[in-house]
C-alpha cells in the first residue's frame, strides 16, 4: 500500500500555526501539514474539502478558505458548532491536528476559464468560495468579470469584510455586500446594502448567457438563488453549488452524505444545478 493510500484513512499530522477571530464564533486557522503531506495536499482544487481531525474531538469536513500557500500552509475557516470544532477553538498554537484529503470534486476551473464568474455566498458559505475567489484573482487574466455577492445576517457576522473590501479596491473584483438587517450601533462604521441576497441579484445586470455562478450558503438559500439565476438566463449547467452533508469517511463508504444516488464526498461537494434536478431531496 502506498503512503498516499494509507493517508486516505490515517490523518497526516498538521501543526496549528495561527488563529484569527473573524466573528464571535468563527475563526480562521492556519495549519502547517507535515512535510510528507504537501504533495498530496497541493493537488487541492477550490471546492474540494479536507477532513480535519482535532484529537479528542474527532473529524469534520472543511473546505479550505484558500489554496495551500507556497510553504504548504492551509487556511481553514471554522465555526464553533459542535464537539469537534469546540476543541479546535480551544486549541493552543502549536497543537497537533490531523488532515486527510483533499477529497471530492471541486469547481470546474478549466471550463470556467475565459468566462465571467459570479460568486454568491451566504453566511459561512463564504469560506469555500473564498478559495475559488483567490484562485480567480491570482489568475485574473484567465477569467472575465469576477463578481462576489456576499450576504450575512448582520454586519458583525460578515467574515473577511476588510479583506474583501481591500481586494475590491485593487480592482478586478466587483463586490456587493448585503446584510439581512443592520442594528443601529453599526451605522456609520460599515457600509453595505440591507436586504436579502436574492433581492440583490434581482437588480444585477450581467452577461447571464456566459456567466458561471458559484453558490454556497445555508440550505434555504439555494432554491431562491437558483430560481433567480435561471430567470436571469444562467443555464443550470453553469450554476455550481457547493453542498454540505455529514461526511464521515470522505471516500464514499460511510454513506451519510448521499444526495439521491450520488455521494457528496465523491461526486460533490460541488454539483451543477442541472445534476440535482432529478433529486428533490438535494436542496
Amino acid at each position: 500500500m502506498t503512503t498516499q493510500n494509507s493517508h486516505m484513512h490515517t490523518p497526516f499530522a498538521a501543526t496549528l500555526l495561527e488563529r484569527r477571530d473573524l466573528s464571535a464564533d468563527t475563526a480562521l486557522f492556519r495549519v502547517a501539514p507535515e512535510e510528507s503531506a504537501l504533495r498530496t495536499l497541493c493537488s487541492f482544487v477550490p471546492g474540494q474539502f479536507v477532513q480535519l481531525s482535532v484529537p479528542g474531538g474527532g473529524e469534520v469536513p472543511i473546505s479550505p478558505a484558500d489554496l495551500p500557500a507556497a510553504d504548504g500552509t492551509l487556511e481553514l475557516c471554522v465555526r464553533r458548532a459542535g464537539h469537534v470544532t469546540e476543541v479546535l477553538h480551544q486549541a493552543a498554537t502549536g497543537a497537533t491536528l490531523g488532515l486527510r484529503g483533499p477529497f471530492g470534486t471541486g469547481f470546474p476551473l478549466e471550463e470556467m476559464a475565459g468566462r465571467p464568474v459570479l460568486l454568491l455566498a451566504g453566511g459561512l458559505g463564504i469560506a469555500p468560495l473564498r478559495s475559488l475567489l483567490m484562485h480567480l484573482l491570482r489568475n485574473r487574466n484567465d477569467f472575465e468579470e469576477v463578481t462576489l455577492m456576499y450576504g450575512a445576517r448582520q454586519p458583525k457576522l460578515m467574515l473577511f469584510r476588510e479583506e474583501l473590501a481591500a481586494l475590491a479596491a485593487k480592482g478586478g473584483l466587483r463586490l456587493f455586500l448585503t446584510v439581512d438587517f443592520a442594528p443601529e450601533e453599526s451605522a456609520g462604521t460599515f457600509s453595505c446594502a440591507v436586504g436579502l441576497l436574492p433581492d440583490l441579484l434581482k437588480g444585477f445586470r450581467f452577461d447571464a448567457e456566459r456567466t458561471y455562478a458559484a453558490v454556497c450558503g445555508p440550505p434555504p438559500l439555494y432554491r431562491c438563488l437558483i430560481g433567480e439565476l435561471q430567470k436571469a438566463g444562467v443555464e443550470a449547467e453553469r450554476i455550481l453549488l457547493s453542498l454540505e452533508r455529514r461526511m464521515r469517511c470522505g471516500i464514499g463508504r460511510c454513506c451519510h452524505c448521499a444526495i439521491g444516488q450520488k455521494l457528496c464526498c465523491v461526486d460533490g461537494p460541488v454539483f451543477r444545478a442541472s445534476e440535482l434536478r432529478q433529486i428533490p431531496e438535494a436542496l
Binding site: 484529537p55 479528542g56 458548532a81 459542535g82 490531523g98 454540505e244 464514499g252 463508504r253 454513506c255 431531496e281
Partner: protein, 323 residues
C-alpha cells in the same frame, strides 16, 4: 476428470482437513436457539440444515464496532487488529453475494485497511441451500465469491474448487473425494430481485405511508442485512491523554443519519425509508444501477412490524395477491 464428490461418511474427516487451513467457523445454533456463524470445535456442532443466521458473515469483515485509529500526542496511527486465518464453512449463495458486494465497496479505490486485512485471511466455503418462504435470491452467482462450494446431492456433496486456495484445500482432501457422483442435484426455481427505478421512491404507493407509520426504527433490518455497511465514526479521548477513533454499524433508519449542524436532510421516517430503498435497490456512486439486495430474507424475518420494502417494487395495480 476431477475427483469432486464427498460422501457423507467422509464429511467429518473433510471438516478436519479444513481445519488445517485456519480456525474453522460455521453455522451453529446458540444456547438460546439462534443460528449464528461461530467457531466450530467439533463437526457435530455444524448445522447444515440452517436456513439463515441472524447476523450475516459481514461480521467477519466489518465487526459491529471496531477501533480504526488511535492517537497519542495528537498523532494518529492506524489500529492493527490481530486477525487469524479463518475458514468460514457453510455460507449460502445469498451471503456469498453479500460478501461480493462488500468487496466492491471496501476493496475498490483505496482499499479499507481493516476490511482488506480481514478479507485476505478469510477462506469461504459455500454450501447449497433450499429456500424457504422468506428467500428470494437469484441462486449461485457466476462466478461465485468463494474458494470452495459444496452442493448437497444424494448421500453427499459435490465439491467445486473455485480459487487457488480452494484447489489447495481440495488437493489436501483428495483422498476423501471420489470420482463417483453422490446423486443428482435438483435445480431450484429462484426469483431474485433486479435493480429498481430510482423514481419508485416517490411513487404514490400507499405502502410508503403505511411503512412510515409502522416502522419502529429498531434498526434490525440493517443490522441483519448482509450488504448494509453504513457506519458511524466516533472519537473517544481517554484519561491518559491519548484516544481512539472507532467505527460502528450505523443505520439509515435512525434520525441522526442525515443530520448536519442545524439541519436534517432526512428528518422524517418516510424520507429515511426512501433513502433505504434507494440505496438497497438502486445503488449509490460508484455502484449506481446495482441492487445490493441478495434475497436472504433476513430483513423481513427480523422486522417486528413485517415491513418488506420489496413489496414497493410491485405495482399495486398489477398486484395479484389480493382478491
Amino acid at each position: 476428470m476431477d475427483k469432486k464428490y464427498l460422501k457423507n461418511g467422509q464429511f467429518s474427516e473433510f471438516i478436519e482437513t479444513l481445519r488445517l487451513f485456519g480456525d474453522l467457523h460455521g453455522p451453529t445454533m446458540s444456547d438460546t436457539g439462534v443460528f449464528a456463524f461461530s467457531p466450530v470445535s467439533d463437526p457435530s456442532q455444524l448445522r447444515l440444515d440452517y436456513q439463515r443466521t441472524q447476523i450475516p458473515p459481514k461480521k467477519y469483515l466489518l465487526p459491529f464496532r471496531e477501533e480504526i485509529l488511535s492517537y497519542r500526542e495528537g498523532n494518529y496511527r492506524q489500529s492493527h487488529h490481530h486477525t487469524p486465518e479463518i475458514i468460514l464453512f457453510g455460507v449460502h449463495p445469498c451471503d456469498l453475494d453479500g460478501i461480493a458486494y462488500l468487496d466492491r465497496v471496501f476493496l475498490g479505490d483505496s482499499p479499507d485497511p481493516c476490511y482488506a486485512g480481514r478479507r485476505a485471511r478469510l477462506t469461504l466455503v459455500g454450501l447449497s441451500c433450499v429456500p424457504d418462504d422468506f428467500c428470494f435470491c437469484s441462486g449461485l452467482a457466476e462466478p461465485p465469491t468463494c474458494d470452495l462450494f459444496l452442493t448437497l446431492q444424494g448421500d453427499g456433496f459435490k465439491v467445486d474448487a473455485l480459487s487457488a486456495r480452494g484447489k489447495e484445500i481440495a488437493q489436501a482432501a483428495k483422498d476423501l473425494l471420489s470420482l463417483e457422483a453422490t446423486g443428482a442435484t435438483v435445480p431450484l426455481q429462484r426469483t431474485g430481485i433486479t435493480a429498481q427505478d430510482p423514481q419508485l421512491r416517490f411513487s404514490d404507493n400507499p405502502l410508503w405511508d403505511k411503512f412510515a407509520t409502522t416502522c419502529v426504527s429498531c434498526g434490525a433490518c440493517s443490522v441483519c442485512c448482509p450488504t448494509c455497511y453504513c457506519f458511524d465514526v466516533r472519537e473517544y479521548p481517554s484519561l491518559d491523554g491519548g484516544g481512539i477513533r472507532l467505527r460502528e454499524w450505523d443505520n439509515c433508519l435512525f434520525v441522526t443519519h442525515g443530520e448536519v449542524a442545524g439541519a436534517n436532510f432526512r428528518g422524517s421516517r418516510l424520507e429515511r425509508l426512501r433513502y433505504r430503498f434507494l440505496h438497497k435497490y438502486c445503488g449509490f456512486t460508484p455502484l449506481q444501477g446495482m441492487t445490493s439486495c441478495v434475497g436472504c430474507g433476513r430483513c423481513k424475518e427480523v422486522c417486528p412490524v413485517d415491513i418488506d420494502l420489496r413489496e414497493l417494487t410491485v405495482n399495486p395495480d398489477q398486484g395479484t395477491e389480493s382478491p
